[in-house]
């Protein structure tokens, strides 16, 4: 996993910015994408992820900063000389060319000999599991098939990097899930660097080796999916990736790998202390936010003893939502006017054998200190 020192960098962005008039769309973005990596740019619409991708492709010129591909500075190089494969959300297949001619487009431009083109086109179409459709026109294909042709067309000339702009966005939910796994497997097979733009956090977590979360034109955090989920560095990331409960509080003291936080809950909950995972840079007295995932919390009876590293906060069940695989309990902490947290309990026992909790029941919400991330501000 930690091959950062030896793996060459395929794409490097150094303080890249893009302004349209007074509007800053991309704000000093620096990234190092390793060779052979599946790297995602994740964020809500308007966060600058697509503009960043388009600058790597050469469709947009950065206002500031440098871009290099495979170790060469390409900031001033036009798109057609960058050797970058691009897959668009609407596929952008050439409607006047057959499937085979679409895939052969780059090879023809390079002047590759005809038998070699035929061999490589067949190979690329087999790779995306679409053999035998060479003579079809794009309009005769389904959305999923068009997607595969677009992929084959972008892979066939072995580009330095393959850029994908929400390529699964136009597919229906089922096909999309299947394509996510297939795309990831394909990327590992061909060993090319993929840069993938999406607003779907689940999609990014499923496929990526690493993810850059963007908001407001900036990169907030770059990490592998697990680190991003377990140790978000900001409230935005904790909120955008999955669901989090946020509890405001103040740092007290460090205890090994944990840190004590005094929660700032209104009413009877004032001064409740919890344990959270220690992170560098925290100082006693600092105002922070503790973030806990709903599935890491458990419900118990009031006053139940907390284990060695366990947190316990009393509350009252306000609402119960049954979602099939689990049940979501919304619990008011520290009195009825307090802060509400969501506790997700898996329905892993048949109905009737579970301990039933009703609306208005007094409960104790328990969780492990290591499951608590400390967010500054």
């Amino acid at each position: 996993m930690t091959t950062a020192g030896t793996t060459p960098i395929a794409v490097r962005l150094v303080a890249v910015s893009k302004r349209f008039g007074d509007h800053v769309v991309v704000d000093r973005v620096s990234l190092e994408i390793r060779h052979g990596e599946f790297f995602s740019l994740l964020g809500p619409s308007g966060c600058g992820k697509t503009t960043t991708l388009r600058m790597i492709a050469g469709f947009e010129q950065p206002s500031d900063g440098r871009i290099s591909l495979g170790g060469e500075d390409v900031t001033e190089r036009p798109a057609h000389l960058r050797r970058v494969g691009m897959v668009f959300q609407n596929y952008a297949l050439f409607p006047h060319l057959s499937v085979a001619d679409n895939v052969a487009f780059a090879l023809r431009l390079q002047g590759v000999a005809a038998p070699e083109i035929a061999r490589r086109v067949a190979e690329a179409l087999a790779m995306v599991r679409l053999p035998g459709l060479d003579a079809r026109m794009p309009a005769q294909l389904s959305g999923g098939q068009q997607q595969r042709v677009a992929l084959a067309r972008a892979l066939v000339f072995r580009p330095t990097v393959v850029l994908l702009d929400e390529p699964l966005g136009a597919l229906d939910q089922k096909l999309r899930k299947a394509m996510q796994l297939e795309l990831k497997a394909l990327q590992q097979d061909v060993g090319l660097t993929f840069v993938y733009v999406t607003h779907d956090q689940e999609e990014a977590l499923t496929m990526s080796d690493r993810i850059a979360v963007m908001d407001g034109g900036r990169v907030l955090q770059v990490a592998d999916p697990q680190a991003l989920y377990e140790r978000p560095n900001s409230r935005f990331v904790a909120d955008f990736i999955g669901v989090s409960n946020f509890l405001p509080g103040t740092v007290r003291e460090r205890a090994g790998t944990l840190v004590t936080i005094a929660l700032d809950l209104p009413g009877e909950g004032v001064g409740v202390r919890i344990q959270a995972a220690w992170r560098e840079g925290l100082a006693a007295g600092q105002a922070v936010t503790a973030a806990v995932r709903p599935e890491r919390m458990r419900l118990g009876p009031r006053g139940a003893p907390a284990g060695a590293a366990a947190n316990g906060v009393d509350g009252t069940v306000r609402d119960i939502v049954y979602t099939g695989s689990d049940t979501q309990y919304f619990v008011d902490l520290g009195g009825s006017a307090g802060r509400t947290v969501m506790v997700r309990v898996p329905n892993d026992q048949p109905a009737g054998t579970r301990v039933e909790t009703d609306r208005g029941d007094p409960v104790r919400v328990c969780w492990d200190g290591h499951s608590t991330a400390v967010l500054v501000a």
Partner: protein
């Protein structure tokens, strides 16, 4: 359930009569064996058409018209394509007023265009000829070409051009391998329209013609001699057939010009 319009059939047949009755009368008299344009008719003949093709001056005028229409139509389409691509794809100063200026010839009466060009050519000492007519026809047919090609390019997915460039095509290769093949029906439609505008045009051609007349100018000059009238009618009939076939070609082309631009742009949502 749409309501029925009770007057619609009457309106429709009235419109048909208004549009096609004159053309029908023209065709009928083109085959009439007599020089007087009145009923009763004198019987069926093809001799006007025979004379037509035997009249050297008339055939010359026809060749002149075709040459002028082909030349001005081709230049108008090239200029129109450049203008449309610039307008739809590029950012430049004065873009807002560009269309207004470019479409102005559509609204200036042809007589005014003809007189002003006549003045201009005489000021710069350019003698009147088929070249001056072709230049003037390029000016007046350019807006049609520009409008047709702009309409096509507005519906053209810009990602297709970007896809071509990411695959290693420079701008000229993208133009040749992607843009031009896809807008070919629109180019043909624009060319046929420009051709027709020039081929039918009389006012400007009459003012700017030198020793060599175009067909409408020649036909008009023949109207002074009543014996030549059946010839003019026969020629008008031929021109009509040509123009109508161009028109129906355009109607057929329309489906290619305004079709959905690229496969896959229809989202499965």
């Amino acid at each position: 359930m749409p309501r029925r319009l009770w007057g619609l059939p009457a309106y429709y047949f009235g419109l048909l009569a208004l549009l096609y009755l004159p053309l029908f009368v023209l065709l009928v008299f083109a085959f009439n064996d007599g020089t007087i344009l009145a009923f009763p008719m004198r019987g069926f003949t093809l001799r006007w058409f025979e004379q037509l093709f035997a009249t050297e001056a008339l055939m010359r005028a026809l060749r002149n018209s075709v040459a002028v229409a082909v030349g001005s139509g081709t230049i108008a389409v090239v200029l129109g394509a450049c203008g449309a691509i610039a307008f739809v794809r590029f950012r430049f100063r004065g873009k807002g007023t560009f269309m207004t200026v470019a479409l102005l010839p559509l609204y200036v009466p042809f007589v005014v265009v003809g007189v002003s060009l006549l003045l201009l050519f005489s000021v710069i000492g350019l003698p009147r000829s088929l070249l001056t007519i072709a230049a003037a026809h390029t000016v007046v047919s350019f807006p049609y070409a520009l409008l047709i090609l702009t309409a096509r390019l507005v519906g053209f997915d810009p990602h297709l051009e970007e896809a071509a460039m990411s695959l290693g095509a420079n701008y000229w290769e993208t133009l040749r391998r992607v843009i031009l093949p896809l807008i070919a029906p629109a180019l043909l439609a624009a060319w046929l329209t420009a051709f027709t505008v020039s081929f039918d045009e009389f006012a400007i051609a009459n003012l700017l013609a030198g020793a060599e007349p175009t067909l409408p100018v020649y036909l008009y000059s023949q109207l002074r001699m009543s014996a030549r009238l059946p010839l003019v009618i026969a020629m008008a009939g031929l021109v009509m057939v040509l123009t109508l076939s161009i028109f129906f070609t355009l109607v057929w082309l329309r489906r290619f010009v305004f079709r959905v631009p690229a496969a896959g742009t229809v989202r499965a949502r």
